[in-house]
Amino acid sequence: MSNAVEAKGIYKNFILPHEKKDSIKRAFTGIFRSKRKGYEVQKALHDVNFAVKEGEFFGIVGRNGSGKSTLLKMLAGIYQPTKGTISTHGKLVPFIELGVGFNPELTGRENVYLNGALLGFSKKEIDAQYQDIVEFAELERFMDQKLKNYSSGMQVRLAFSLATRAEADILLVDEVLAVGDAAFQRKCFEYFKELKANKKTVIFVTHDMNAVREYCDRAMLIDKSEVQLIGSSEEIAREYALLFMDKTSDHAKKGNGKRWGNGDVAVTSVKTKVEKDEIVITVKAQAKKAVDKLIYGLHIMGQDGAEITAMNNRMIQAPDIENIQPGDEIEYTWRVLNIFNDGVFYVMLTLVDDVAETLDWFIKADTFTITREQRSTTAVLPPVTVTNTLTKKK
């Protein structure tokens, strides 16, 4: 299959003047002060390369201000890249916003023709499907009223009804789904399913990881103006979640109330390995003072912070670590049966002595990620078996 969209070495810099030189006076005074740098260069995108195959549903995700909308606008030809080339094959229609060009002073009918023209429909083509458009928008009675008298919901419905008519090979969609009520969102998703079934090429910018998982064949993660990763939608959705996680665990390392204790014995390193059947957590700690008996605990929390399991060595009949002298190094390894469902998890480590003095209480000591073929709404799936019998009526 050939590429529908190809971006090679895309750079985009925005020049932001400190004082906008948009009047003649400034333009002239600027000549004499040209040595002073009157602008700042904002790097919106840095060396972006990717290709979208024909018929692919491709997601672009990233935090606010990461440059993803700028990228979409460049794909749509609205902005020009500072460097690099973008090539597209086939008719491209962008949905940066619904109802582009709607004029409140015109009637619904007139706006259909105007917006239709922007989407590339001639008057004849709109004439032919006018009835369908109006019916789909459920606005039969209102078409001869001025648009300014429409509710915002009615406007969106009309715009969406028009947008779904667009005969494009490539569609660029920018979080249009964020607006509208639940019923409208359902309509949008139905339209998406239809696009997918019809093998249209769709490039979809979003924050909604569920939508990415559900519709996208592949996705791209953009952060800090650069492509971080291109991969399966599962991979990207997870990586995206980690972007927010990293920030919090940074806090944890600095303390910030996420870790406390007297520090007589403190964790120095945590390594978490996800194996097929087990999660292996290796912890190293060092003692500053003598400790008689050390009780060590492990908690595992879900992404929302709810505890999934909590235990210490005594609860599983493992021995305490005894007779620790200052300077001693400790290492212990937890092996937890891998019954976790798809998602991101936190590891919390605790060290206490036998008089219940807290030595180290390390809330977000580490994270690990589980990938499953199937998604689930629950955090864990304990080993379960089930049997059944069916007794036939005699």
Binding site: F14, K25, K73, I78, Q80, V100, A117, L118, F121
Partner: protein, 268 residues
């Protein structure tokens, strides 16, 4: 060949059509008489011009059909002024649209100009009415009129391209243009005939393409007593200068607009 051209400009044509229609619909939006105003305005204008310049200050005795000459001048000037004034803010005013969808930007400016042109054609109906009413002798030189109107169309459109593109970067342009149009109104024979001025002024001002065009229009359509660049200099070839200027400006403006239009969306 025609097919290929049609394909290439298919989108532009659809868009152009819709934008002109929209512009025209919005022109007399909400007014009771609506499109009738396109006819009523020049009618009222003629009444005013007639009262002021034919009855109150009868300066135009030596030119026959002076009132009609003035009306022609004012209609043509109004067209020129409308196209350039709306042209200045045409691109910036559609900034919202430009940031949402990519389309050929020249369509916006062209649509504004065409909408004003259609309006001019309607007002010409009134002008023709007054010509008949005033017993203007219609000679076959009237056939030059479309060429003259074409010249004005190209000049106004060229300026609109230049101004709209400049306005994106320099927001002083609209004020500058407003002042220039005030000055140009008096420097152009709109509410007077060029022949009232001392000859050296006539010879200078006639190089203004709008002056040349209005005087030609009066001369060829209404009365041959009106001066043209040809009668002033004794050779019709002098017309090459203002017409040449119009062509050079239009090509230059189109080139500049085309070059800048790629960056309109991010600079507005």
């Amino acid at each position: 060949m025609i097919n290929r051209l049609q394909q290439r400009y298919h989108y532009s044509l659809i868009l152009l059509r819709e934008l002109v229609v929209t512009d025209f619909k919005l022109r007399y939006q909400g007014s009771f008489l609506g499109y009738l105003w396109s006819l009523l305005k020049p009618l009222a204008l003629f009444a005013i011009l007639y009262m002021v310049f034919v009855k109150a200050f009868p300066v135009g005795d030596k030119i026959p059909h002076y009132g009609v000459c003035l009306l022609a001048g004012v209609l043509l000037w109004n067209y020129f002024s409308e196209v350039t004034n709306t042209g200045v803010s045409a691109i910036v005013g559609k900034g919202d649209l430009l940031r949402k969808i990519n389309f050929p930007k020249y369509v916006i400016v062209l649509a504004g100009s065409l909408s004003a042109f259609i309006n001019l054609m309607i007002t010409f109906v009134v002008l023709a009415g007054f010509m008949v009413f005033n017993d203007v002798e219609i000679s076959k030189t009237i056939l030059v009129a479309p060429l003259l109107v074409l010249e004005l169309f190209v000049f106004a459109l060229g300026l609109a391209f230049l101004l709209s593109a400049l306005f994106v970067k320099l927001r002083d342009i609209n004020y500058i243009w407003e002042v220039m149009m005030q000055a140009a109104f008096y420097a152009t024979p709109v509410v007077y005939d060029l022949s009232f001025l001392p000859e050296k002024f006539q010879k200078l001002l006639i190089f203004n393409p709008v002056a040349q065009m209005i005087q030609d229009f009066r001369h060829y359509v209404i009365t041959d007593k009106s001066a043209t660049i040809g009668t002033l200099y004794g050779t019709e070839w002098m017309r090459v200068i203002p017409v040449g200027f119009v062509i050079v400006l239009a090509i230059g403006a189109a080139w500049y607009f085309r070059k800048r239009s790629r960056y309109f969306a991010e600079e507005i």
